[in-house]
């Protein structure tokens, strides 16, 4: 294998790790708990920006060509941890507004609106995160290690893997515990859960904040690897890609959504890079989006529970529903 190929492979592995964190996060919110988080990409962005400004140092460095708040240089691994925490706090605030009193269909719309407001804010308040140009020249963590640049690539892959493992332990703990069953119950039958004495709002808020923290960490891992992050990277349609990965892999199933992350944002996205540009410029990209949309439709129709479906722990299918592919995310 040539060195260049190793660079490419390791880059893809890091992206895979980031996407796996992403689908676990959204799966916990949407798949397990049934929260319509159309603003998911915003929480990844919060994490990315936070980790960025906590690694860049004061904005007078680099000739002062970027403006941003908070500029300090925290030692590793603090930027990643703080990124998760800040994303969690933002999720708490958004959740308190959106999840408490609103109808579920309103929630979806409010999330959409919030996601768009966030992009507008960051683009227009240039002093926040350097406006539409975004943050760049973010130094890589542990850069002082005596590693070749190829060695560093593998080191970062290992670092991502460790973070994924730690996050998985937490996520698995939640989804396989009584708490996880309570979350599923609020998703499958809110009234019944309420009748059983569960505080549905608290449960939802918990899943939302937990998912937000993981989303923030995924953003931090990404920006510290690529060194740049701009509003171009987090348009609200990007949430659809992660959502499609969750649906394709298996809504509600941590292993299933991992497969989804491998198939949709990684394998599919990378595969299209090998298609030579043809036709009008941008045609390949347009076709790629069309296929992403079709994938979501095809799976919702034929395999609404995904490739590796969630095991039905409760509420076994009744006689009339045995042939119907019951979607686990129904909230009535």
């Amino acid at each position: 294998m040539s060195a260049a190929f190793v660079y490419y492979t390791t880059t893809i592995l890091v992206y895979l790790g980031v996407d796996i964190l992403a689908v676990w996060s959204l799966n916990l919110q949407y798949g397990v708990t049934g929260i319509y988080n159309f603003a998911w990409i915003m929480f990844q962005a919060v994490g990315a920006y936070t980790a960025g400004v906590l690694t860049l140092g004061p904005d007078t460095s680099n000739g002062g060509f970027q403006q941003y708040i908070l500029g300090v240089r925290l030692p590793e691994p603090l930027p990643v941890l703080v990124a998760g925490a800040v994303a969690g706090v933002v999720a708490l605030v958004v959740g308190m507004v959106a999840l408490r009193r609103l109808r579920t269909d309103y929630q979806a719309m409010v999330m959409l609106v919030i996601s768009v407001i966030a992009v507008l804010l960051v683009e227009n308040v240039t002093g926040l995160f350097n406006g539409p140009a975004g943050l760049s020249l973010v130094p890589q963590p542990y850069g002082s290690l005596p590693l070749s640049s190829l060695g560093y690539q593998w080191f970062y892959v290992a670092l991502t893997a460790v973070i994924c493992l730690v996050v998985y332990l937490f996520v698995h703990r939640v989804t396989s515990s009584p708490l996880g069953r309570a979350l599923r119950a609020t998703r499958d039958n809110e009234d019944a859960a309420q009748a059983l004495g569960k505080d549905v709002v608290q449960l939802r808020l918990f899943a939302f904040v937990f998912g937000g923290v993981v989303a923030g960490i995924s953003g931090a891992v990404l920006i510290l690897f690529i060194g740049a992050w701009s509003p171009g990277s987090w348009a609200y349609v990007e949430t659809l890609v992660v959502l499609t990965a969750v649906i394709v892999g298996g809504t509600g199933n941590n292993a299933g959504v991992m497969l989804g992350a491998l198939l949709v944002p990684v394998a599919f996205n990378e595969a299209t890079r090998f298609i030579p540009q043809f036709g009008r410029p941008g045609l390949v990209d347009a076709l790629q989006w069309i296929v992403i949309g079709l994938l979501a439709l095809v799976f919702l129709w034929f395999w609404p529970r995904g490739i590796i479906p969630e095991r039905r722990r409760r509420f076994p299918a009744g006689p009339g529903r045995a042939t119907q592919a019951a979607e686990p995310s129904e909230v009535t």
Partner: protein, 297 residues
């Protein structure tokens, strides 16, 4: 700002409110009856604008383009419901699944337009018809047409909903589809008609939007979607009158923000108003009854 300029800006404000009202009433009408949050709405507006553009390029007048846009929007919207959305609902796809379906459809429509027309800008060819001075406002004649179209459409919707049997059936279906069906209302036909009407308004809004922006591309309608959603929510989802009023409110708020804060913030402020209102009135200013409904099959 001098007095006359202020009056002139009100003139432009009427134009924007007209466009937003067309779009948000169409959006909320369909949502109220079918309870499907149709995120493909903005892209359908763009597609209708392209349909109007095709007619315009073939030598059609603005009126013909408007008819083409409305017709295309109505047809596309009704077919979309009948052959895709309703099938998904009957197949067992629930509320949120339907949101994903409509979002996916929107992405597909937008990118088909992008693939077909390319990443460039288009303009209708028409003469602006000269200017008209009314009460100190300076408007192009085509902008008067926009206002007139919108007022006429709003009046028609209002009359239909309050004065006809169909309107009553529609409101009954929106309020309680099960009960409506039990009372002998053909809810399926009513839903079909709601999608048809919503699509016609969507198509009209698409054409008048790009008439007013002078230039448009494959993303133009979708850029407008969030404002439409905001107006619909502020007015109380499913309430056409609320959406009309909310369009005016949003218009005023954004313009005051642009005037006294900074122009690039106007959308942020408008959306901020929406979020704050929802904090205190979760069903919007003009909405009522916070009931959670499922998609009627």
């Amino acid at each position: 700002m001098t007095g006359s300029l202020f009056v002139q800006s009100i003139g432009f404000g009427l134009v924007t409110a007209s466009i937003l009202a067309l779009a948000s009433v169409g959006f909320t009408l369909q949502f109220g009856v079918s309870n499907i949050l149709n995120l493909a709405y903005g892209d359908l507006m763009t597609a209708s604008a392209f349909a109007g553009y095709a007619v315009n390029q073939a030598g059609g007048s603005i009126a013909e383009s408007l008819v083409a846009g409305a017709g295309f929007g109505a047809l596309a919207s009704a077919l979309l419901n009948r052959y895709l959305y309703r099938r998904f609902v009957r197949h067992g796809t629930k509320l949120f699944g339907m949101v994903v379906v409509t979002l996916a459809v929107g992405i597909i429509v937008q990118n088909i337009l992008l693939a077909a027309y390319g990443a460039t800008f288009f303009s209708y060819s028409f003469s602006t018809g000269g200017q008209v001075h009314i009460l100190g406002m300076v408007l192009d004649k085509f902008q008067l047409v926009i206002i007139a179209v919108s007022v006429a459409a709003m009046a028609a919707v209002q009359l239909l909903l309050t004065r006809t049997r169909l309107g009553k059936a529609m409101r009954a279906t929106a309020a309680n589809p099960g009960l409506a069906q039990a009372s002998g209302i053909g809810t399926e036909q009513v839903t079909d008609l709601a999608w048809l009407m919503s699509g016609a308004l969507c198509g009209l809004a698409g054409v008048v939007l790009v008439l007013n922006t002078s230039a448009f591309q494959s993303t133009t309608g979708n850029d407008f979607l969030v404002v439409i959603v905001a107006a619909a929510m502020l007015g109380g989802v499913g309430r056409p009158t609320g959406a009309m009023l909310a369009s005016v409110v949003l218009g005023v708020v954004t313009e005051v923000a642009a005037r006294f804060i900074t122009p690039s913030f106007k959308e942020v402020i408008a959306f901020g108003v929406l979020v704050v209102v929802l904090l205190f009135r979760p069903t919007g200013i003009f909405g009522q009854g916070a009931t959670v409904k499922e998609v009627p099959t």
